[in-house]
């Protein structure tokens, strides 16, 4: 999937493509467990989340509930992502 939510970057700016993994209720609502997102650099975990949630109606309401991981470690929405990162959007955890 590509996002058109950002204005066209200058020709010199690189774009960043990440693999996004989604789980549980979010996977169910999106109808898939992984997707590819391309955004202009620089970009953050929160930008990736916004692009994914913009891809379906009513998904924005999940925004406050989601936590994040980059390359299998917890992180925050303001963390930068680089090309090739594995970004995970985590609905409320329920292990144990």
């Amino acid at each position: 999937m590509s996002s058109s939510s950002h204005s066209t970057p200058p020709a010199s700016a690189a774009s960043i493509t990440v693999e996004v993994l989604v789980f549980a209720k979010l996977a169910e609502l999106l109808g898939q467990t992984s997707l590819r997102v391309t955004l202009p650099a620089p970009t953050t975990v929160g930008d990736v989340r916004d692009a994914v949630l913009a891809s379906g109606p009513g998904l924005e309401r999940l925004t406050p509930a989601l936590a994040f991981a980059v390359n299998r470690a917890h992180t925050t929405a303001d963390a930068p992502v680089v090309d090739g990162d594995e970004v995970a959007l985590l609905p409320p955890l329920a292990g144990g």
């Binding site: 789980f23 169910e28 509930a65 299998r72 609905p91 955890l93 144990g96």
Partner: protein, 151 residues
Amino acid sequence: MPCLTSSPLDLDRLVARVVSPERGGVATFTGVVRNHHDGRSVLRLEYSAYDAMAEAECARIVSEAERQWPVRVALEHRTGHLEVGDAAVMIAAAGAHRQEAFDACRYVIEEVKRRVPIWKREHFADGTMSWVDPTARPKAADVAPSDGPVP
């Protein structure tokens, strides 16, 4: 040792991984699928995980506990379909004395619940199902059907 497994958990096997002659205290915790949630009857649970991260996070939690206390810790968590009464998570912590064993065991279960990317979907007696969201309601709402009238 991997933390996630689709096979039944076995407490003896976990304890065997951590005991030794110099460790006189072994604390264990077992989390079991219960038959009620928010006053509704639960038939079974379905656990799913972000496997690679869950393994990494479990390993981090175990090594944090083993750094913080003089203990050895074993941790396993089920995935897949579980029935009421099945063990979903087991922890064994062994140290020279009970204090560090209890403290490490408590630390591990609290961190597992807070950090390990695992989700569960409840299948209710009425045929419906829903993803469990521990942040959605206060714990006080989680009472057994027999504790009072169902709202």
